[in-house]
C-alpha cells in the first residue's frame, strides 16, 4: 500500500480585499485553500495584523499592556505614528471607544476629527472601528467614513441593527466594511445577503463572526470560522467567501487570565508572559480556523504571531 497523499481541490475561493492606498495598499484573502494548506492550492496574500489604537487613553487596559504605549497613548496621532514607525505595523485599527455613551461619550464630530488627524499622520492602511454601541456607531461611523473619504479604509462594525446606515456610509466614501454577527454561521450569511441586497459589493465585505478569547468560547468562534471557510471553498457558497476578521485584543484583554496578578493566582505564573501568550495563542488558533485579518494589542504578541505566520506560509 504505497502512500499517495489525498489532496483536495476546492471549488470556491476567498475574495481578496485591499485596504489603504498606493503605494501602501495591502491585500489579504484571495486563497483557494483552507488556511495555510499551500500543498494543495494557492494563498497569494499574507494574513494582515492591525495594531489597535484608541481615540482616548486606554485606562481600562491592564497596566503591562498600557506600558508599551505610555508615552504616546494620550494622543491617537502619536500612538498611530509610534505603531507605524517604531513597531513597524502593517496597519492601524483605530477604535473610537471614546464615543461610547458609557465612556467619554465623544461626539461624531470629535471622532471625525481624530480620524482625519490620524490618517494624515500615517501612510499604512487604517481600520476605523466604532465603540460597538449600535445606535451611536451609526452616527459616529457616518462622520468617520466621510472624514476618511477615498483612503480605502475598513469601516466597522455593521451589525443587524445598524448595517444600513453604516454600509451606506462605507459605499459613499469608498471604504470596505466589517459585517459582524454573533457566533452563528447562518446569521453571518444572512447579514452578508442583506448587505448585498442593498447594493453593497460582496467583495468589499469582511466577515466578523464574533471573536472570543482562549478559554472563553474560543471553540465556538473557531468552529464557526471553520464552517464558513468550508462553505466558501467546498460548496462554493458565494455568500461566505469574504475574508474573516478576528478581533482578538478586544476579547482577550478583559478576561481574568490576562488580569489576575501572580500573587492572586500563583499557579498561573507570570502575568505579563501569560497575558501576551493569551493574546498570541488566541490569534494563532483563529489563523488556523480561517481568519485572514487580525486586530491585536500587545506588540510582543503581534511579533510572535507574525513569526508564526512566516513559518506557516
Amino acid at each position: 500500500m504505497t502512500f499517495t497523499p489525498s489532496k483536495e481541490t476546492y471549488t470556491g475561493k476567498v475574495y481578496p480585499v485591499s485596504v489603504g492606498t498606493a503605494p501602501h495598499e495591502v491585500v489579504f484573502g484571495g486563497e483557494n485553500i483552507l488556511p495555510f494548506h499551500t500543498f494543495e492550492g494557492s494563498s497569494p496574500n499574507r494574513p494582515l495584523i492591525a495594531h489597535e489604537i484608541q481615540d482616548v487613553p486606554p485606562y481600562d487596559w491592564p497596566e503591562y499592556l498600557q506600558k508599551p504605549f505610555q508615552d504616546v497613548s494620550n494622543d491617537p496621532v502619536s500612538w498611530a505614528k509610534f505603531c507605524q514607525e517604531t513597531l513597524g505595523a502593517g496597519a492601524i485599527a483605530l477604535r473610537l471607544i471614546g464615543t461610547h455613551p458609557d465612556r467619554e461619550n465623544r461626539s461624531p464630530e470629535d471622532a471625525a476629527k481624530t480620524v482625519k488627524e490620524v490618517l494624515s499622520s500615517i501612510t499604512i492602511p487604517c481600520i476605523i472601528l466604532g465603540s460597538n454601541h449600535t445606535e451611536k456607531d451609526s452616527a459616529v461611523l457616518i462622520a468617520a467614513a466621510e472624514a476618511a473619504k477615498d483612503r480605502n479604509c475598513i469601516l466597522g462594525k455593521a451589525q443587524e441593527a445598524n448595517y444600513k446606515t453604516i454600509a451606506a456610509a462605507a459605499m459613499a466614501n469608498n471604504h470596505k466594511l466589517i459585517a459582524m454577527s454573533e457566533l452563528d454561521i447562518n446569521l453571518s450569511k444572512q447579514l452578508n445577503i442583506l448587505l448585498t441586497q442593498m447594493g453593497f459589493d460582496k467583495e468589499r465585505i469582511i466577515t466578523d463572526p464574533m471573536s472570543s478569547a482562549l478559554g472563553y468560547g474560543l471553540e465556538y468562534t473557531y468552529s464557526v470560522m471553520e464552517r464558513i471557510r468550508l462553505a466558501a471553498l467546498t460548496q462554493n457558497d458565494a455568500t461566505m467567501q469574504q475574508p474573516i476578521l478576528a478581533d482578538v485584543g478586544l476579547y482577550v484583554w478583559k478576561v481574568k487570565e490576562t488580569q489576575a496578578s501572580e500573587n492572586d493566582v500563583p499557579q498561573w505564573g507570570s502575568l505579563e508572559e501569560r497575558g501576551i501568550a493569551w493574546e498570541a495563542m488566541t490569534a494563532t488558533a483563529f489563523l488556523l480556523s480561517g481568519a485572514g485579518f487580525l486586530i491585536m494589542r500587545h506588540p510582543k504578541a503581534i511579533e510572535a504571531v507574525g513569526k508564526i505566520i512566516d513559518e506557516l506560509i
Binding site: T2, F3, P101, G217, Y222, R227, V255, M281, A285, A304
Partner: protein
C-alpha cells in the same frame, strides 16, 4: 479500505436477535460501517467474520495507551478532521523533554515541575502528562541510569524514551518493561533492532521518518515484525510542515482508512523562545498531534496550552456548562444588584463579561438549565418561575443581599409576574434582552 454496511451485513449471523441493541443485523451493520457501534456487541459473530471485520471496523486512528495505571493516557481513536463534525476524542499529551546530559539535580528539578504541573480549570484537573527522556550523552549506561532515576522519582508518570541507539533503548526499556512507555527512535537504519527492544519490553514503538512516504513504509515493516502499537513522526518540525503532514496523515486515516498512517502522531515543538514554542505546540493541539514534546513548561505556558487543549477537545454537541452557583463579580455587598441567568457557558461568559464592563459589583446567580441559553431553557421548561424561585431560596442568594430585587433577562420578561407570586416580598425587574445592554442598564440604575 473500509467495508460498506452491506458488505458487513453479509458477515453477520443475520438472526436479527437484537442482542446488540439494534433492531436488525442490517441496522447494526450500518452502524458498524459508520463506526458508531462495536462488533463486540454481537455475541454470535463467527471467528472468521471477526477477523475479516476486525481490520475493517478498527478505528481509523489506532487507539494506543501510553503508560499504565491512573496516569496512563489514551491516544488515537480519532474519527473526524473538523471538531464541529464530532468531538475530538483523546486530548493531546504534553511531554517535557529531559536530556540525559543534564546534571542529576537539574533532571530532578524538571521531573519535579512535571509532578507539580496540575492546574484546575473550570472543574477539570489539567497537567503535563508525560516525560520525554532524550538520549544526547551517547552513553547507553547514562541513559539507563537516568531512566532508573526517573522511575524512582515519578514511577507513575508515562515516559517517552527518545534514542536511536538500540543499546540505550534496551537499557531504559528494561526498567520500564510492563509500564508501556514509548521507545521513540525506530528509523530506516535501526528498525529491526529497535523493534526487538520494543517487543521484549512490551513498549510502544515510535517510528521516525523523513516524509510521509517513508513513514508509511516503515510502519508497514514494523507491523510485519509483530508490533502494533506505534506513534509516528514524519519529520515535520516547522509550523508549515506540521500542519501539512498532520493534515495529510489524518485525512489518509479518516477518509481512506489508510492503515499505515493510522497511528497517533508525535510532534517535537522545540523552540529557543518559549512563547514561539507554545504557539507551535498550539498548532499541534489544533491540528491532530497526539503527543507534543516541549522544551519548557512555565506555569503561564501550561495554562495557555491546557486551556487551548480543553477548548479544542470540547464536545461540540454538548453545550458547555458552568457550575450552578451565585458568582461574585467585583466585590459586591449586601446592597449590590442580583442578576440571574442560565448556565450555558457562553451565556455565562458573555453576561459576566458585560457585567464586568459595567463596573458595578454584582451578584450573578447562574442556574443549572442543562447548559441551555436563556430563551431555549425557558422554552424547554427549565427556566420557569417556580424553578427560579426555588433556586433563589436554595442557593442562598436571598441571604447574600439585604434588598429584595431580582433582575431577570429581558427575553423572559413574561416570567416577571409569576415570579413575583412565587417569590414572596420580592420585586422582579426586567433587564435587557441582550447582554450588551447590561452596562447601560446598570448605569441607568445607578443614576
Amino acid at each position: 479500505m473500509a467495508l460498506t454496511g452491506v458488505e458487513i451485513f453479509k458477515l453477520l449471523p443475520k438472526t436479527n436477535c437484537k442482542k446488540c441493541g439494534f433492531p436488525t443485523c442490517l441496522a447494526f451493520a450500518m452502524k458498524l460501517a459508520q463506526r458508531q457501534a462495536s462488533l463486540d456487541a454481537c455475541p454470535d459473530v463467527s471467528e472468521e467474520a471477526k477477523q475479516k471485520l476486525g481490520e475493517a471496523s478498527a478505528p481509523p486512528v489506532r487507539p494506543v495507551t501510553l503508560g499504565i495505571g491512573e496516569k496512563a493516557v489514551k491516544m488515537g481513536e480519532e474519527t473526524v478532521l473538523f471538531r464541529h463534525d464530532k468531538k475530538f476524542v483523546n486530548p493531546c499529551v504534553f511531554a517535557l523533554a529531559i536530556r540525559d546530559t543534564l546534571g542529576d539535580d537539574e533532571i530532578k528539578n524538571r521531573v519535579d515541575t512535571v509532578l507539580h504541573s496540575e492546574i484546575d480549570r473550570v472543574g477539570q484537573k489539567l497537567k503535563v502528562d508525560a516525560l520525554a527522556l532524550i538520549h544526547e550523552s551517547n552513553d547507553p549506561v547514562r541513559f539507563g541510569s537516568v531512566a532508573g532515576m526517573v522511575a524512582g522519582m515519578a514511577p507513575e508518570v508515562p515516559v517517552i524514551f527518545c534514542t536511536s541507539d538500540p543499546q540505550a533503548a534496551e537499557a531504559a526499556g528494561k526498567i520500564y518493561s510492563d509500564k508501556k512507555p514509548v521507545i521513540y527512535g525506530a528509523n530506516s537504519g535501526n528498525l529491526e533492532a529497535m523493534a526487538a527492544v520494543a517487543k521484549t519490553n512490551k513498549t510502544i514503538l515510535g517510528v521516525a521518518a523523513k516524509g510521509l512516504e517513508e513513514l508509511a513504509a516503515l510502519t508497514e515493516k514494523t507491523k510485519s515484525l509483530g508490533i502494533e502499537d506505534m506513534v509516528i513522526d514524519s519529520g515535520a518540525r516547522t509550523a508549515k510542515e506540521i500542519l501539512e503532514h498532520n493534515t495529510l496523515i489524518r485525512r489518509a486515516a479518516i477518509k481512506k482508512n489508510y492503515k499505515p498512517l493510522g497511528y497517533p502522531i508525535i510532534t517535537f515543538a522545540y523552540r529557543d523562545d518559549s512563547l514561539a514554542e507554545a504557539l507551535i505546540a498550539g498548532i499541534g493541539v489544533a491540528k491532530y498531534s497526539s503527543i507534543v514534546v516541549l522544551n519548557s513548561i512555565e506555569q503561564w505556558k501550561n495554562l495557555v496550552l491546557f486551556t487551548l487543549r480543553q477548548n479544542i477537545y470540547t464536545d461540540p454537541q454538548v453545550p458547555m456548562q458552568v457550575e450552578q452557583k451565585v458568582y461574585k463579580i467585583g466585590e459586591p455587598t449586601a446592597e449590590s444588584p442580583l442578576l440571574i441567568t442560565t448556565n450555558f457557558s457562553l451565556t455565562y461568559f458573555i453576561v459576566s463579561g458585560e457585567v464586568e464592563n459595567s463596573r458595578v459589583p454584582t451578584y450573578l446567580a447562574v442556574m443549572d438549565c442543562e447548559g441551555l441559553s436563556v430563551l431555549t431553557a425557558w422554552a424547554a421548561g427549565k427556566f420557569t418561575a417556580s424553578k427560579i424561585a426555588q433556586f433563589i431560596k436554595e442557593s442562598g442568594a436571598d441571604s447574600l443581599v439585604s434588598h429584595r430585587e431580582l433582575i431577570i433577562p429581558g427575553y423572559v420578561a413574561i416570567l416577571s409576574g409569576a415570579l413575583e407570586d412565587k417569590l414572596d416580598g420580592w420585586k422582579v425587574t426586567v433587564g435587557p434582552r441582550e447582554a450588551n445592554g447590561i452596562p447601560a442598564f446598570m448605569k441607568t440604575r445607578m443614576s
